[in-house]
Amino acid sequence: MEAASDKKALLFWGLFLVVFALVPISRNDYYLAMANRILVWGMFAVAFNMLFGVTGMLSFGQALFFGLGGYGVGLMVKYLGQAWFLAGLGAGVAAAAVVAYLLGYLVIRVSGVFFTILTLAFGQLAWQITFRWYRVTGGDDGIQGLVPTGILGDHIVYYYFCLILVACSVWFLKRLSASPQGLILRCVRQNPARVRFLGRRVRRNQRRIYVISSVFAALAGGLMAGVDNSIHTNMLNWTTSGEVILMSVLGGIHQFFGPFIGAAVIKVIEDVVGARTEYWSLIIGLVMMTMVLLFPRGLVGEWVSFKARMRSGGARKEGV
């Protein structure tokens, strides 16, 4: 699947950029915010999937870093003023790198479900702290008024700012995924013992991708603060971690762009279903269940294997 021709990749990138770049023409702030949300969450999901789909580490605690990014911006603006918005974005990302590096030593001692549960535990701890330490973080009241100064204060300019950052980040992650390092990460998922035989350190590679994935999660959180102009402790709650897992599985965890498509679909479904029925959770639950049981390759994965079947008359079947 990584062997897609350069031409095709170029076409895809061109289409991706053009479609998103044209959204502001609608002159509708709702579509703009929606597209912005899809971009940011899409990046979050792609970065998360580098951990899950590629390296096989299911973290249930990426909300911690998403929130760290958001609160980097929020706390800087709250205590130092609006001019510090961008500095806050940088601070959040830097903090995430440090926290992920340190936490990595704690949580990457165990694997499988233990890793999942440990990350969940630390994520919930961070959520509790922000929720209760309300004197500093604003707790459940959140922090509002997060508007960047200067031209970034304009919604459209901010949108393009996000678009460029997201495109660069996703491009970087794509390069990483296709690089020898990406190959090693795949080996870590499929056969850690062999990675060791080859003289590579499994844990070190796991920690490295954990930090990288978390840094982009924090970037996503920081960018979201500017989309909503407010942040809230919900960013750190396990439901955020759950949502990003759902996006990845829905899109397809063995496709690089799967999670991005998954993010777009989830954000649209959430909005469309939420606008029409109070029983949104039933519908989203049923969609999720259907995907898990019948389409485990995800939307993009099923599409790819469908195309493959068409081409070879149903003889080829990709392993899941």
């Binding site: 709702y30 579509y31 915010a33 209760r132 959140g142 979201m224 909005d271 939420g274 606008a275 519908i283």
Partner: protein, 424 residues
């Protein structure tokens, strides 16, 4: 493979069924975009609010609407998530072209939405959330609130405690409240008001269980050890229910006076505790089903019961009031589009509501955009008029609206720039 194909068809059908739900646009409507939680433990408040708002709209439209406009409510489950609610609010404003943002139970969501309202200059009518910040620290021109905030509840609570101290001297006080902004705000505001009214007291305990904590026994036994004369509770909803149920066999309510002036007297607390609600607890809420005994209130409660088959929680009346406030403002301005003129119409608006006793009319304070209402604090008494509750509040003490407002020095200290600018 056939199974998958069928599942796809079923999914597509399910999606298709969801599509044609949008009504065609009518020419003259006042569109109200509501956001309430409809799931989880606050879902009750959201569904009650929507039902009451629809009731008010049906009443107004039944009389021909206002100035040729019909009212229309769109509501969405806020999921109690601020980020999601912001997105929905943007849809309301730019795609659905609503004239008013409306609702919200959680203060966190309210604070996020008041930011949107400020940016888009779209009036936001708060009907339920209680954080004082919205009308003081974070006040902006386009926000109005039509239910009491925690400061007003706590001021009334402090006055009640002052009177009790005169009748039967008490000295010590303890507090238990959820460990988040709402819990801390109430305790700070109560102490502020006790000091303001010159009440002498000694704090013997402060307890902060987490929100939605299932077990309070360790807190209860520890409070009993502290022997406070008065126990103030800032818990709400299911937490109050759990606390009361768990405290009963320990005899806590014989040993200390339990007092919960903001949300303890909510109807759902009484319906969910039944006979286990001890008598003589001092409680209040932002609306009571059995006070005042005016025709308007009786009609409101019985109409709500006819519509839904249950008695309203306090939040219903806030939403009902919000719709009437909007109708009155549109009536005065003549159209729902001129936000600046509507703001002027809301400022100082007099609004006769079900919760107003005879001789008093609620009004919106032009300075803080906060509705000013009488607060009634009651004691639990046996009363089976509103089943399944077997206790309701009685022995009312009424606190005058003006006495429980934040004083100017409080506004000067905490107010937003906009508020301070208007105070000069």
């Amino acid at each position: 493979m056939r199974g998958k194909a069928w599942a796809l068809v079923a999914l597509a059908l399910a999606m298709a069924m969801l599509v044609p739900a949008v009504a065609g646009a009518e020419d003259k409507v006042v569109k109200i975009g509501a956001l309430y939680p409809m799931t989880g433990r606050a879902g009750l408040y959201g569904l009650d609010s929507v039902a009451a708002a629809e009731m008010a709209i049906a009443e107004i439209n039944g009389k021909g609407g206002v100035k040729g406009y019909k009212l229309e409510l769109i509501s969405t489950d806020s999921q109690a998530k601020p980020d999601y609610s912001v997105q929905v609010a943007k849809r309301y404003i730019t795609s659905d072209n609503v004239h008013f943002l409306f609702g919200v139970v959680s203060s966190g969501v309210g604070l996020a939405l008041t930011e949107v309202s400020k940016q888009y200059k779209k009036i936001f009518i708060g009907t339920d959330h209680a954080s004082t910040q919205l009308t003081v620290d974070k006040l902006q021109p386009y926000y109005f609130r039509v239910s009491n905030n925690t400061f007003q509840s706590m001021a009334a609570g402090a006055l009640d405690l002052k009177e009790r101290q005169k009748a039967k001297p008490w000295q010590t006080i303890a507090y238990i409240g959820p460990d988040y902004a709402y819990g801390h705000d109430q305790w700070n505001e109560l102490k502020y008001n006790l000091d303001r009214f010159g009440v002498k007291y000694k704090v013997v305990g402060e307890y902060w269980p987490k929100l939605a904590a299932p077990d309070y026994t360790a807190f209860i036994t520890s409070i009993i050890k502290d022997k406070p004369d008065i126990l103030i509770s800032g818990l709400w909803g299911g937490d109050t229910v759990a606390f009361i149920k768990q405290a009963l066999p320990y005899g806590l309510f014989q040993k200390t006076l339990f007092c919960s002036p903001d949300a303890g007297g909510n109807y759902e607390v009484m319906s969910a505790t039944g006979d286990e609600l001890a008598l003589g607890l001092v409680l209040s809420a932002r609306h009571h089903n059995n006070w005042p005994g005016t025709e308007a209130n009786k009609k409101f409660v019985s109409d709500f019961f006819k519509k839904t088959g249950r008695y309203p929680s306090y939040s219903a009346e806030g939403a009902y009031a919000g719709v009437y406030a909007i109708a009155q403002a549109v009536e005065k301005v003549g159209n729902p589009d001129d936000a600046e003129a509507l703001v002027k119409a809301f400022e100082g608006m007099k609004l006769k509501l079900p919760e107003d006793p005879d001789g008093f009319t609620s009004y919106i304070d032009p300075l803080t955009h906060q509705i000013v209402q009488v607060q009634a604090i009651g004691e639990t008494v046996a009363n089976k008029d509103f089943p399944p509750a077997t206790r309701m509040l009685g022995n009312w003490k009424i606190y005058k609206a003006q006495e429980i407002l934040p004083p100017p020095e409080y506004l000067k200290e905490h107010g937003s720039d906009y508020l301070k600018g208007r105070m000069k």
